[in-house]
Symmetry: C2
Subunit: 346 residues, 2 copies
């Protein structure tokens, strides 16, 4: 290989960056270790060795293929950190460690990859998690679309929170709370993808929710029966899954659903139902009915919970179904999404 080739390649990812040889090492050290470094990752062992303070752990994974890779409010890297942190947090776990695995299309600019890795590091730092292991593959131009990122995550679960993940204690009378406006992420991606310009820019809500969730679990121990982040498939999918799995009815009050004017406007204009649109910084909580106001107040104190609201309740009726009471006084069944509204939303 001539020197001129090496210099030229440095600005863009080449297949050689995925060879496992010199250029892979250079890429890992120049981009990934630069941002992610910590005493575990720096060892560059095949597996990270971790000390886990509790014997009960949560383990999750997600691949991110969002298109476009940069969008108002975030990018694929930030999303990859938030998504996995949130999957752990809603399971009642304290997120500790992440893996990061990249599938990169040949020709991606090094600058783009650098920006993505930088926001992953920033987001991980802010959320108090460490990226401790990873992998890099490069495929030829046209064999993937820019970059796909997989993160897996490990968190610890303390005894009192073990039952949150399955929602086994959910019962009629429990209230349903969401921490703010729905459908922001999906609509931000759609507007960016279709190059739609509106007066008010819609920002993705992409955020790590572990600090908000921590504050609720700490101040109101035992009040939370179930949590899930309302990502792909939106709020409707989370509630349909809850109703189906726990064999309860869910009633949702349309009037109390937090949604911003711009998002409502775009949804109306384009014919989307915001209930099915993806969020990336929204957690749905099922909370003991008697303590729901206290939980709500606690949530509203947190920057990511200002617009929190009680949006419905669990009922001992129409088991397995979600019923929406509409603004105009009617009601309709909310079913699970049959088709795909927006591919590659996350």
């Amino acid at each position: 290989m001539h020197i001129i080739d090496i210099v030229a390649m440095d600005k863009n990812i080449s297949l050689n960056h995925g060879s496992g040889g010199k250029l892979t090492h250079q890429l890992i050290s120049d981009v990934f270790l630069k941002y992610f470094h910590n005493e575990t990752l720096d060892q560059l062992t095949d597996a990270a060795l971790l000390h886990i303070p509790e014997s009960r752990i949560a383990f999750t994974t997600d691949s991110f293929v969002v298109d476009p890779i940069f969008f108002p409010g975030g990018n694929i890297g930030k999303l990859a950190v938030c998504g996995t942190v949130n999957d752990l947090a809603v399971s009642g776990a304290r997120p500790l460690y992440l893996s990061a695995s990249f599938i990169i299309e040949e020709g991606l600019s090094m600058e783009t990859l650098d920006t993505i890795a930088k926001s992953m590091a920033e987001e991980a730092h802010a959320a108090g998690v460490k990226i401790v292991t990873g992998d890099t593959k490069v495929v030829a131009h046209g064999q993937c679309d820019k970059v796909f990122i997989n993160t897996a995550g490990i968190g610890v679960v303390s005894g009192p929170h073990e039952k949150i993940a399955t929602g086994m204690n959910v019962k009629p009378g429990d209230k349903i709370i969401i921490n703010g406006d729905i459908a922001d992420h999906g609509m931000a991606i759609l507007c960016e993808r279709e190059n739609l310009k509106f007066k008010t820019d819609i920002q993705s809500d992409c955020a790590c929710l572990n600090s908000l969730i921590d504050s609720v679990l700490e101040t109101e121990p035992g009040a939370v029966k179930f949590m899930r982040d309302a990502t792909r498939g939106g709020l409707a999918t989370v509630l349909c899954e809850l109703a189906g799995e726990r064999k309860v009815g869910v009633e949702l009050d349309e009037e109390s659903l937090p949604i911003s004017e711009p998002v409502l406007g775009v949804c109306d204009l384009l014919g989307f139902d915001p209930l099915y649109i993806a969020n990336e910084g929204k957690v749905v909580l099922v909370v003991d009915g008697d303590r729901s106001e206290k939980v709500l107040n606690q949530m509203r104190k947190h920057p990511l919970g200002k617009n929190s609201n009680i949006i419905g309740e669990v009922v001992d009726d129409h088991n397995g179904m979600v019923l929406l009471h509409t603004d105009v006084g009617g009601s309709r069944i909310v079913d699970m999404l049959a088709g795909d509204q927006l591919p590659r939303i996350c």
Copy 2:
């Protein structure tokens, strides 16, 4: 959506299978749960809750983009299980849990996905690991190539094996052992990809090595100083990394390198150096010099270690460098791979 559409889609993956809605649920239950099911995964929680018997764990991840997805000796699913199991095992960990995350190209046949999932389940079962969490994304035709699979893995590390991952105890006089023929995987992929037909079919060595490694660690405790699986970049890359990281010299004896006749033939014919060709069932061990024969004998008793050999040693000379003593009596420096011999080998 008309019924006829749903029926038609059932034979191939559609974007709707990645929506997070009904079809995603159906895909998970019809394919993934069918094969992977266990009490943890069956919960379908956002994160798997696991009980870990030791507080020291190993955590690793790899994305698999191998092309073709089916090859002699395996497929991308088997590879995805073996690769991550091996990364844990060579770190001195006992592999316990895997995640499985799929990025699927729209149009992939359901039958293909089923076959892949089935071999993942079989391989995981044989290796004694459970697939406990996962994710599915579907991208449009042309946005990825058939299917990419990420697996992350968790294993437990018992005290005496903690130092194997970094190789911190490696010292001059230690012997280097490999468990059999090199370069099988890379050459099997290449022959399949280029549709090269030879008299003897070359099979990938793709295999889970944890049982072989276990047998060595149990019968010869403390003898193993370092292990790594010689995947992308081949045996040469593992040894160059070892020499560089531990600041020792490595001498390799060409005559003692196990390699099959067909692989040697194809390498000669096409101008590949087998030292740099990927393996997917080969572990390189650095072993206390005094106990190397015992370790070797133990390894040869295992079906995956029949062709094991001592192939070199660690020396107190030319630190950071790997030297190959050739069959004809000369010697040459083995450097790290600069370019990519074979993209998408794993």
